[in-house]
Symmetry: C2
Subunit: 751 residues, 2 copies
């Protein structure tokens, strides 16, 4: 057996060098990871919650992920089922409440489970779309996992365009029930997680037919399987949709209904109701319910942005640690002399190309985390106050941000893998798993092509009806009265867009680009130029009379995508600067810590939203926590600069539109990015340490906190199923036939 080979056993302990290199990186960094962690996770309390959840998982071998790389689809589904059941039963035993259990499931388990949709989509629907009686019946069943409820919206032939869904629910007053039916193959529900083999029920979106009239989409809670033996109920055809790039641990399913009878009370009637005799009525105050639902989607999207930051940080933890440990190039042994102690090769992390690939992504991980947390806090404030005035803005923004995050993080994770060279391609690097799962974000719940026009249309409309829109300084409160909805200062550039496109950047030296006001001006100029161009195109189309706004939006979809991304980057930059400014304020005014200084020192650009957003984080971490000090704040400031300038470099053509930046200024930006890369590189290992991702969670031989990369790679290799026998069955069954064929039956061991 290979793994009893003394040669390997003896050598497995040799790679001290990686350990030494990471120690050096940590010793020379000015960042204290534990302080930075408090910042990243939004205060000591949130951090402690997170650590408790992680400890819950990591102390229990059932939750181990060591077997992951070696399991096929079926085994992965079995394992994830085992994990959920064990987790829920254990929490039940220990008296851990539902919300805390969700923390553990979502943050710490590190597994996409068959019940994710049950907890994230079905339960919120049961909470917000139901009548009190329905809620009283179904919610406890769902929260206690006495039923498992899929959320069945998407159909085989219809994704984002929900208006085209084909499943029909025909109300039959005589039996007081709906007849649920899938008219053709393309109407099969397709994709819902947990639907294939796990769910007992599903919330099914179907077109309600009432006395021959189409009342549009409604939700029904439909039982799928017998509760005694889990067999599908009559008329229900269920199954798994097959293996996927990722999400192997989930039974994404299909479901066809053949005239399935559903009791009247199983329509979710929080928003509209049907009387026994088939009278349809919108419910009073249902609007609020719809908006709460709407808000729930915002929470999901905020979570996607935040999770995007964390996912990127995870891939970066692997890539940055490995880049510090891996040596390559530039120090060959002198020819003609062999020395075991030949001059060492360089750390890969010292290559400017490596830094250029990784450091801007590190800045992105912080930007996304900060912005995701901000969105989540805003959502909570929104729930608390039911102040709906900012809802249209926030909803539009969340569409654009979801799309942008999906793109940046997916590509970023793939970059991290490639920056690990060949070894990144091994599942043992942990990176293919991260990519394969995360990239689903790019297609589920709307692709960029579907989402970005939503934000772009919002911006365009603001710009096209200037009389209805707030002018000038956007402090929402002042303008909410005039406008049908409030607007944060993020949109200040809109009414001024035309003017901004004649501005030229005044930066004469690289250092000028390190002024936040300068950066925000640049991002505003860029988005303004795109907006102006979009407006010109649309106005020309409307004058041409070939269809309305929708047709023109479709025609100019590429441009609208750019507009959406540009706006989102402006918002990310603002949130990043605001967060850093807050920390700067804290650090410089330690004596006035509880005063009202948060957010000052940011060029007066703090808006109402930002101030709102900071509240909660504040109140939490007054005592007993390690907070960010001057050194960490300096690093955060540099990360923020790098976010700004690397974004400018990446989309330089847009910043050069209408010559806002000159060719020479563009070169300056590139030079400054290289300098910032070097600066951040010095702190990079400590910065990823601050995300507190344990070796267990990372599941990566390359990303080990102790730097013992090569021994870990070997250990993983020895676990390859192909190594279970010294001579493979492939030899006995196949290769032997070739090697020994014909006249060449080897009589000798050696040639």
């Amino acid at each position: 057996m290979v793994n009893e080979n003394p040669l390997i056993l003896k050598r497995g302990l040799e790679d001290e060098e990686g350990a030494m290199l990471l120690q050096k990186e940590r010793a020379t960094s000015s960042v204290r990871p534990e302080a930075m962690a408090t910042f990243i996770f939004g205060g000591q309390e949130a951090l402690s919650r997170r650590l408790r959840a992680l400890a819950f998982i990591e102390s229990d071998p059932v939750f181990d992920t060591k077997d992951r790389n070696y399991l096929d689809q079926k085994s992965r589904y079995m394992r994830s089922s085992e994990k959920v059941v064990h987790l829920v039963l254990k929490c039940r035993r220990l008296g851990i409440p539902f919300t805390q259990m969700l923390d553990i499931l979502n943050v710490a388990l590190d597994e996409i489970t068959p019940t994710d949709v049950h907890t994230k989509m079905a339960i919120p629907s049961l909470m917000h779309q139901t009548t009190p009686e329905q809620r009283a019946k179904w919610l406890p069943l769902a929260e206690n996992f006495r039923i498992i409820c899929a959320y069945a919206q998407t159909e085989l032939g219809h994704g984002s365009n929900v208006r085209a869904l084909e499943t029909i629910a025909t109300y039959e007053p005589s039996s007081q029930s709906f007849i649920l039916h899938s008219p053709r193959l393309e109407s099969a529900k397709w994709w819902p997680g947990g639907l294939g083999k796990s769910a007992t029920h599903a919330i099914v979106l179907a077109r309600l037919l009432l006395g021959g009239k189409d009342r549009g989409l409604h939700s029904f809670i439909v039982q799928l399987r017998d509760l005694r033996d889990h067999t599908p109920l009559p008329g229900v055809t269920l199954g798994d949709i097959g293996p996927k790039l990722g999400f192997m641990s989930v039974d994404n399913g299909f479901c066809l209904f053949d005239h399935v009878r559903v009791p009247r009370e199983h329509m979710l009637m929080g928003l509209a109701e049907i009387s026994p005799d088939g009278h349809y009525r919108k419910r009073k105050g249902a609007n609020g319910g719809e908006k709460i639902l709407y808000g729930a989607m915002l929470d999901v999207r905020a979570g996607l942005v935040e999770r995007g930051g964390a996912t990127l940080a995870r891939a970066l933890t692997v890539a940055i640690r490995y880049s510090a440990v891996r040596r390559q190039g530039y120090a060959p042994s002198p020819p003609g002399k062999l020395s075991q102690s030949a001059p060492l090769e360089l750390q890969v992390l010292d290559y400017p190309t490596q830094q250029h690939a990784l450091m801007p992504l590190l800045a992105w991980s912080f930007a996304l985390q900060i912005t995701g947390q901000f969105m989540r806090r805003r959502y909570k404030a929104y729930l608390r106050e039911l102040d709906l005035s900012l809802l249209p803005e926030v909803h539009a923004l969340s569409s654009g941000l979801k799309a942008l995050t999906g793109e940046v993080v997916s590509q970023g994770v793939d970059v991290c893998r490639r920056m690990c060279g060949g070894h990144g391609y091994l599942l043992a690097s942990g990176l293919p798993e991260v990519f394969s799962n995360y990239t689903a974000v790019q297609t589920f719940e709307g692709t960029a092509q579907v989402l970005e026009p939503q934000l772009a249309r919002f911006i365009l409309r603001l710009s096209m009806a200037p009389t209805e829109r707030p002018k000038g300084s956007g402090r929402g409160a002042a303008t909410a009265a005039k406008a049908p909805f409030a607007l944060s200062s993020d949109f200040d550039y809109v009414p001024l867009a035309a003017g901004k496109t004649f501005v030229r950047c005044r930066a004469a030296t690289p250092v000028a680009f390190l002024d936040p006001a300068f950066q925000i001006e640049a991002y505003e100029a860029r988005v303004s130029a795109l907006l102006l161009l979009a407006r010109e195109e649309v106005e020309a189309d409307l004058r041409g009379g070939e269809g309305g706004l929708a047709a023109s939006m479709m025609k100019n979809g590429v441009l609208f995508g750019r507009l959406s991304r540009a706006h989102c980057q402006l918002v990310l930059l603002r949130r990043f600067h605001e967060a850093v400014a807050r920390e700067e304020g804290r650090v410089t005014m330690t004596t006035a810590r509880n005063g009202g200084l948060d957010g000052e020192g940011n060029g007066g650009r703090i808006d109402r939203g930002a101030a709102d957003g900071s509240e909660e984080g504040e109140s939490e971490d007054r005592e007993g926590s390690v907070t960010v000090g001057p050194a960490e704040v300096r690093v955060l400031r540099n990360l923020c600069h790098l976010f700004a300038l690397s974004g400018m470099e990446r989309d330089m053509a847009e910043f050069r539109a209408r010559d806002y930046l000159s060719s020479g200024q563009a070169e300056m930006v590139s030079r400054e990015v290289l300098r910032l890369n070097r600066t951040v590189r010095a702190e990079a290992v400590s910065l990823v340490d601050a995300w507190l991702l344990s070796d267990k969670l990372l599941g990566s031989a390359l990303g080990r906190a102790d730097g013992r990369v090569y021994g870990a790679l070997f250990e993983e290799a020895l676990r390859s199923p192909l190594n279970d026998k010294e001579v493979s069955k492939a030899y006995t069954l196949h290769w032997r036939r070739l090697l020994m064929a014909g006249d060449c039956a080897w009589g000798n061991a050696r040639l």
Copy 2:
């Protein structure tokens, strides 16, 4: 059982609509796929060879790939082993010669096999690095698969920097043998395909130690396993390195040597020899051998470029056909009325955003195919004439092209997947498999970070020693005498770079950008600006005296990467224009078909290399083939324009450097790209049809030639291992415990 469900059986035949849509696309296209295929594959003869190879594979069920998505690592290795053995034995039986067998293996089998390295790396080494006696002994053994030979270069701790390899071969005159040894864990050979469980031998790169003196890297043929029973020989520790993102069908392996004795005659002595008493001597004329080896690498890289084009075409075949079949958006049923024949949704392919993602990639697939074939023809000419004068140029170019191709194709395949929406994420789409395997190109045999500086350095050196370089028109022949090596006109811009950066583009209308000369000027201006900037940086560094050229190259690595990519795109554009011009020449001058008009009508920009390159293609397809006509040539011309302009749009910031393009011209380019996208879209289905990828080869439910997408998706889903039982074991073992826990043992089937 799900798959006996009559509901599904009945409905499986319903999706006629996809068939109808693809028929419509084909009927309205002006491209005849069979004619275009002749162009794509370089003539009727090459096409016929290809089709014969495909028929060989597709007629035999052993080679089927239907099981692929459901197999784990071990089973995939077993299957690929079975396929190779079956293929070789069958060819042996049918008397098919080795080279033709390789065609079948490499082009048609559609499987990455454990013997790919044996045939692509080891056999060429045995051919070119050996003495005639060694050749006579080893080559027949290898070509007949009586041995399987891995190629063991890369080590666990060392990839591209071969100078740092640690494996040692110490010559011992007393026993006339080498002692092969891996001094530490990091020196383990790591990654070679087939090394883990299949190979009997390996060509091992090791540092030759001779009387205490390091003679640098040499190759040794080392027996690894006993030929009677396949057990590893004493001192050899072998194994598989574990599961990977792709390449699951190959046993990439590791190998550690513990003082393994290798006979003197097993050093490959084609280039240098050791006498029995340990006297070392470079062989006379060995230089030629080295250059042939060098050439072999070029052939591999040409193959990578060509395969890149074909891989992209494969992903595009799926994405474009599915985009034609898939409908989404813009035609909801009117509210309040339900109609089974509601107005149809739009074909996704009609969205400009979809076109913008896919059409430029379609242009790339042609550009890569054309250029890869050109490189391959040049390699053959090179072998024929042993004219080495262009070798430095070609080698440098191949480095840059390998890196660029890997990046564009990997990302392009991923784009194709995402453009299929959620369904692209299913393995049944066939796309994850393509991505997972192809993306390995980005890291194996040198990452972009390692390769691009090689081309950039070549360009930089040309520009820095102008007195030694040919000036003006680069027709290689004229200048070869003066220069140490010849140079094609691809580098004409180099001596003129400084001048070019003051030029401004004169295009005043979008149509002006459709002039090939204009496009080439633009690409030359762009690469010139990068070159000039690079030179300024390097000269400043050299003046500053902080290290030499190597240090400055490292410092400016990001810029040098851009320079490499810009040059490669210029070359791709030139080859594309030349190829189209040749076809235009043929079509317009049908009467003078055999005359010397090839390549005319291209603004006089055809260089010697291009003329060389066209020869072979010519001589092949005179008779009996369907050749490209005026309609196809027009489409090719548009594809070429799209390649040029979408490339400009993508890297617009570089084309705007030193204001070569103005902001307004940049907008024109974007508009023109959208127009070209629409034009190419009309031919898109026929253009992918022309790659002649059968449904079997595609292995994609979404890419079916007949458009019956939804039925195929269902059929694939029914094959999911999770569907083998109606009630999953996950229920019996796990979910049941949760659903029925505590006080809630369900007595009833329904709630």
